[in-house]
Symmetry: C2
Subunit: 249 residues, 2 copies
Amino acid sequence: MLELYHFEAAANSMKPLLCLHEKGVDFVSRQLNQDGKRWEQYSDWFLKINPDGQVPVLVHDGKVIVESTVINEYIEDVFPGGVSLRPHDPYWRARMRIWTKYVDEYVCPALTVIGANFATPFAQKIDKAEMDEVLSRIPLDGPRRKWETVSSTGYSEEELADARRRLGVAVGRAEASLGEHDWLAGPAYSLADVNAYSMISGAERVAPEALNGTASPRVFEWLRRMDERPAVKMVLASYGRRPAPTRAA
Amino acid sequence: MLELYHFEAAANSMKPLLCLHEKGVDFVSRQLNQDGKRWEQYSDWFLKINPDGQVPVLVHDGKVIVESTVINEYIEDVFPGGVSLRPHDPYWRARMRIWTKYVDEYVCPALTVIGANFATPFAQKIDKAEMDEVLSRIPLDGPRRKWETVSSTGYSEEELADARRRLGVAVGRAEASLGEHDWLAGPAYSLADVNAYSMISGAERVAPEALNGTASPRVFEWLRRMDERPAVKMVLASYGRRPAPTRAA
């Protein structure tokens, strides 16, 4: 049995959802409740599956695989049939991995700050004793500090500006890359596109100064092509908070 | 032709050096000068090879591969013979990738702070106009900010303490993992060991409160096993600043 524990189809949870749908691999969706005050990823039952309290998690015949980017390479290793999302040529495969790594290490932390900032009004309303109890159950220091920050001071203007600046740098890099070939990391659609789209497809709405069609026409054309993919539409319709985006002209 | 541009055998540069030596793959070493005031990684000739100004870089028949962790997967993709450093079983392969990712995302930034801090006395003596000229040539914001920091204020005590704390967290995670199997990410030696050893083999000297034989006996036994590997000895003898470490009892 193949089970995926995930949140709604966005960011890290979208990556394996999109990979599985692109490849047509059957799986059982275990969508965690993301409503405020549930914190299901830190519940006792989920911490037994992933002691780090992070989603997504793939469970394949009882074997637990964590980390969305690793999960997608695992899916390619175990289900090489169907649409290939990993180039056969080692050079283009390396280019794909350079992009997935860049998204994980440079883009994701910036988007985490921008995204978490939206949770500040909600988090600051939570009773302090209750929030302290939640914080005490968060295993990893990164997410714990994030929730400590948004439930107290919030991120500073400097931190938010730097996160938007980093997102802009990444969009510029994507724009240059898409000037060289049709897809983000080479001539073929790959896990790099899956990874980057999952992270930045909603950035136009939350950071329009960093991602907009005027400054980044190739990135926008690529986003529109991605929006139209049947797997993207299916994933957003099944697990998304909203349907596939309508991009500004 | 296979060429590796690298610094001395430590941290990210050690990863592909060790991988190539373990597998017995012939290559041409292009070791950059690391002496102060050279900044060879930001020179015009090197920026033509890697516009990001980062080492190591593998150049294979003219194709440029960057990012040490991606380089090592590329070496396994192109030279699958010899010692296999990537498990054939997809589950253990995923575990290997979870570890290399963790080292890159969590351990490396902490060690960068600890390591860069040692460069503070040297960097603060550099003439400001000269340093500004160097800073203007550093393409990536991460390394540029690092050198801005060490050449001016240096890292704060809080930042250094947090880096040592993070290193301690990672050592604790390695200690637990080595309690489950002989090698860091599973029953077999893999790129996870190559990656982690390259980063932390010198940490006993610079952060003994985070890495010492009393608190982490399994990590120490693993480090000693690694120290004795012929490839490790060869790499340190050929490209290292010092020979293989003698571990404290």
